[in-house]
């Protein structure tokens, strides 16, 4: 079975404080998330919650901040940086998240790559490799823009690969 769209959501006028996909079917091997994302403040750290939990993650992030390239170990569930208000208008970050073996009883491996860009020197292409030390099948994915709000036009699409 080729790559299959599981679902997609677009944030409408008024925004949303959170985006969560739940009841993900356990019929695939890997999950892929593609996103065009913007929130109510720029440069916000985007974190991942699986099955409602932000625990038991570890991460290694590589980010270019427009001046230097730096490596980070926190946030432990960090997957990217979101564009937002008070910066270039109408610019949305472009993010991809791959989660391997999401429906197995093993701990999960996660790779994310993110393109945050604006017309200033601060620009944050980044890679993130994460481990979720939890053997449960993933049935929900939540992306959290710190304490900010998702803005209209934010899109997340979730796929299974099997």
């Amino acid at each position: 079975m080729p790559m299959t769209l599981v679902g997609s959501v677009t944030v409408g006028a008024g925004g949303a404080s959170s985006l969560e996909f739940s009841n993900i079917p356990a019929t695939g091997t890997d999950l892929v998330v593609l996103g065009s994302i913007r929130c109510s403040s720029w440069g916000v750290n985007l974190t991942l919650e699986l099955n409602g939990s932000a625990s038991n993650f570890s991460s290694k992030g590589l980010l270019y901040n427009g001046t230097t390239i730096n490596a980070y170990g926190s946030p432990s569930n960090w997957v990217g940086v979101a564009n937002g208000t008070n910066r270039a208008t109408n610019v949305f970050s472009n993010i991809r998240i791959d989660i391997a073996n999401y429906a197995t009883t093993q701990n999960k491996g996660i790779q994310a790559s993110n393109a945050y860009a604006d017309f200033q020197t601060t620009s944050y292409p980044s890679f993130h490799n994460l481990v979720w030390s939890n053997s449960a099948t993933i049935n929900s994915i939540k992306l959290v823009p710190e304490d900010k709000t998702w803005l209209e036009g934010t899109i997340l699409s979730v796929y299974t690969i099997s």
Partner: protein, 170 residues
């Protein structure tokens, strides 16, 4: 007419510790596809406290040139190699502080084209570092097999490790 693609061609899920994993007969298995994507979750049975190399080669022949960059939680480094018979990919061992299998993705472009060397984008994580990079197999032959084994004569790929090979048409 759009053509659905990204198709599972072959898979191996290890039921017991195994020395090697091989995808063979790709001329038939992957006929009609242009790129291959190999997705692995793998760990070694080694007793090193850090990482061991999961070795990859094509057709058990040829040489590889590779350039990689690594990062941990505070620093970056890079590595180059030339003329290697196998590509090293560092994966967690049974003694790693976190025993989650390492997650590896290889994008193998134009694997069956005989007018070019084969270039691969790869990305993976190990116990200490995360890695990304590019490598080139210096053969114009079509890739007919992909072979993986762990460095060390008495070390295996552990049970539960998974290997999925996908094909993409072009």
């Amino acid at each position: 007419m759009p053509t659905p693609t990204y198709d599972l061609l072959a898979s191996t899920v290890l039921g017991s510790n195994t020395a090697t994993v091989n995808f063979t007969n790709l001329g038939t298995v992957a006929a009609g596809y242009r790129d291959l994507v190999l997705v692995c979750m793998a760990r070694s049975s080694g007793t090193s406290s850090g990482n061991e190399a999961l070795l990859l080669d094509f057709n058990s022949t040829g040489a590889f040139d590779a350039t990689s960059s690594a990062w941990d939680t505070s620093s970056t480094s890079s590595q180059t190699s030339s003329g290697s018979s196998k590509i090293e990919n560092y994966i967690r061992t049974s003694q790693s502080s976190n025993t989650t299998p390492s997650f590896l993705i290889f994008h193998i472009f134009d694997f069956a084209q005989t007018n070019k060397h084969k270039t691969v984008l790869r990305r993976y994580d190990s116990s200490t570092y995360s890695w990304w990079g590019v490598f080139r197999w210096n053969q114009t032959s079509a890739i007919t097999s992909i072979n993986l084994d762990v460095e060390g004569t008495s070390t295996d790929i552990v049970a539960g490790s998974t290997f999925y090979l996908y094909g993409i048409v072009s």
